[in-house]
């Protein structure tokens, strides 16, 4: 009987720790939810009002007022989708090539890829500004997308290479012997097994470009204004419109949450697919 009570105790302990962690993660979001349902006066009330009449007018304002964030959400979506798609389109074949081919200078390339992640982004603002200005891509979608790709691509490649390296070469060799072309072997045998990894990469890349603020605010200008920049409008010298800011922030979270839910299925599938006997992919 002892191991069983021990197990129960252990479980209870783990649950408690998990609940505490979850609390830390959810408090800010819950606070934002509550704030978004109050009016501006109640937000500033001290002590905070616990009982109040919830209102949806902040959401309405954020979506329909003159300062509606809808166009900004669209901008964000265009930028994030373009960045993600282009990154994946380039990163998948690149990572596969690095993982498979015996390329000279494979090690230095790997290091370079990681090194780009070590540079503080702010150090790159001025050079990027100058470059975009020179080629006339300031305040343009392509300008921001290209810049986001310079960050996301090395990271995506680095993430995917290790997954591709885990897929046994023999599986492709089997496909080649079964008369598949190199492309078919990649498409039918390698790619489906990398689905989980690609889903993870998609989420990371999308999330990073969706949440990006620094480059967007400096290089985006007036026409291309992603939602992160637009939200900054709720903070100004006279006052901060906390309720509307919260509503906008929550709305901006939706696409990301949706993506996570959609990709989850693939991630789990990617993680649970068993492969070559004995090796057992995790």
């Amino acid at each position: 009987m002892r191991p069983r009570t021990g197990g129960a105790l252990r479980n209870a302990l783990l649950m408690t720790v998990a609940a505490l962690l979850l609390l830390v993660w959810t408090v800010p979001i819950l606070l934002a939810v509550v704030t978004s349902l109050k009016n501006e006066k109640e937000v500033l009330a001290y002590p905070p009002t616990l009982v109040f009449e919830p209102t949806l007018k902040n959401y309405a304002a954020v979506l329909t007022d003159a300062t509606s964030i809808l166009p900004n959400l669209t901008s964000s979506l265009i930028i994030a989708l373009a960045t993600t798609m282009l990154t994946i389109l380039i990163a998948v074949p690149a990572a596969y090539a690095i993982a498979r081919l015996r390329l000279p200078g494979k090690q230095p390339v790997g290091f370079y890829v990681l090194a780009t992640q070590l540079v503080p982004p702010i150090g790159l603002i001025i050079p990027y500004f100058l470059i975009l200005n020179r080629i006339g891509w300031m305040d343009s979608y392509q300008g921001l997308v290209v810049i986001y790709i310079t960050f996301s691509l090395p990271f995506a490649i680095w993430l995917l290479v290790s997954y591709f390296e885990d897929i046994p070469r023999e599986m492709e060799e089997a496909a080649l012997l079964d008369r598949a072309s190199r492309w078919q072997a990649f498409w039918h045998v390698v790619l489906p097994q990398a689905r989980g990894a690609i889903a993870v990469t998609v989420i990371f890349v999308f999330l990073n470009s969706w949440n990006e603020f620094l480059f967007a605010v400096v290089l985006g200008g007036a026409t291309v204004k992603p939602v992160t920049v637009a939200m900054y409008n709720y903070i100004n010298t006279e006052q901060t419109q906390w309720a509307q800011l919260s509503a906008a922030a929550l709305l901006a979270m939706l696409p990301v949450i949706l993506l996570g839910v959609l990709a989850q299925k693939h991630i789990v599938k990617g993680l649970t697919t068993g492969a070559v006997k004995g090796v057992g992919r995790r």
Binding site: E170, G274, G278
Partner: protein, 353 residues
């Protein structure tokens, strides 16, 4: 006998960077043959198989398949199928999809694929598992699935890379028999790589022995077992391995570990330093012969294998008896001199008297 699946290797060699892993392999595999490449790990047997498959390109020499030069032909154009040691099943496809894959690649109509998949699966008795995924199969079932995938498009040549090594001992022996039956019924030329001499002996029509990147002998299992070409082959084949001892021949007598015995049939070899080989089964306990002390006795049921210390030299004797001989017992082992193998001491090459 089928007409397809003839393999001819001419002076094939392979170098990886600075390392030479295979040299001067000349080999002919006849249509319909069950041919084994046998050797310890790192001997070049798998490299040879991969060169035949087209997964590696020979850095020297030529590969001919069915009379045509295939040295540089890509694997898909060689009409060969292979079962890998790891099986290399596609984990995201069902058993049926795995077996269908080679047919799908050559754009076989769906109805024909279905029928062929069912037939191949039935041949290896996995027709009830078609909807499972490889991860849900046992090792033996995975192996069958890999076999079915290989036979489904009726290749000219069937390549097997240690296909039984991941199975447990009992299943290995069962599958061995089935494999042989399958090969006979399909009448397909088969090249089989193994490090297990018992497998090679029991399955092969002919076999090639590889040692240190060279092919050292080709022949039927009987030929290779009875007339090993080198001292290394002699030591590799047989269980327990052949007794090999340094000896001196002179005037029709051989002296081993300070003991001398008559060997008149070796007289023609004159006086020289040799390595004498004698199988454990060619020794028997007698009242006279080489005197030795029992250091270990393994009882295997119907027979015993006894380690003897003969003047500091280890000698293994296999005897058809069931009773254990206690350690320390003094015995005599008589050599059947007609079954002695003689090898040159320095080159290791077989010497025929």
């Amino acid at each position: 006998m089928s007409k397809r699946g003839e393999v001819r290797l001419e002076g094939v060699g392979k170098t990886f960077g600075e390392t030479r892993v295979l040299r001067e392999v000349d080999l002919e595999i006849r249509p319909g043959e069950f041919f084994s490449l046998l050797g310890p790990s790192g001997s070049g047997k798998t490299t040879t198989l991969r060169i035949i498959a087209g997964l590696e390109t020979a850095t020297e020499g030529f590969v001919h398949l069915d009379g045509k030069d295939a040295t540089l032909l890509p694997p898909g154009d060689r009409d060969v199928a292979m079962v890998f040691q790891s099986y290399a099943l596609y984990p995201h496809m069902t058993v049926a999809q795995n077996i269908a894959f080679p047919l799908k690649m050559i754009r076989t109509p769906a109805a024909a694929i279905d029928a062929a998949v069912r037939e191949a699966a039935t041949r290896v008795s996995i027709e009830h598992l078609l909807q499972r995924r490889p991860g849900q199969l046992s090792g033996g079932q995975q192996q069958r699935c890999a076999l079915a995938r290989a036979i489904v498009r009726q290749p000219a040549l069937f390549l097997l890379d240690e296909p039984l090594s991941n199975l447990d001992a009992k299943l290995r022996v069962e599958t061995r028999v089935e494999l042989k039956r399958l090969q006979r019924s399909l009448d397909v030329t088969t090249v089989y790589v193994t490090h297990d001499q018992e497998e090679a002996m029991s399955l092969s029509d002919r076999m090639a022995i590889f040692m240190d990147g060279r092919m050292v002998q080709v022949g039927t299992p009987e030929e290779v077992f009875r007339h090993p070409a080198t001292v290394q082959v002699a030591g590799f084949l047989g269980n327990p391995p052949m007794n090999l001892m340094p000896a001196t021949l002179a005037g029709g007598r051989a002296s081993v570990a300070g003991l001398s015995f008559k060997a008149p049939q070796l007289a023609s070899l004159g006086t020289r330093e040799v390595t004498l080989g004698i199988r454990a089964s060619a020794l028997e306990f007698a009242d006279e012969g080489l005197p030795g002390t029992v250091t270990l006795c393994e009882v295997l049921g119907e027979e015993i294998i006894v380690d003897l210390d003969v003047g500091g030299q280890l000698l293994r004797v296999k005897s058809l008896q069931r009773e254990r001989i206690p350690e320390g017992t003094r015995v005599h082992a008589r050599i059947d001199t007609a079954r002695l193998h003689v090898f040159d001491r320095t080159s290791g090459a077989r010497l025929e008297p």
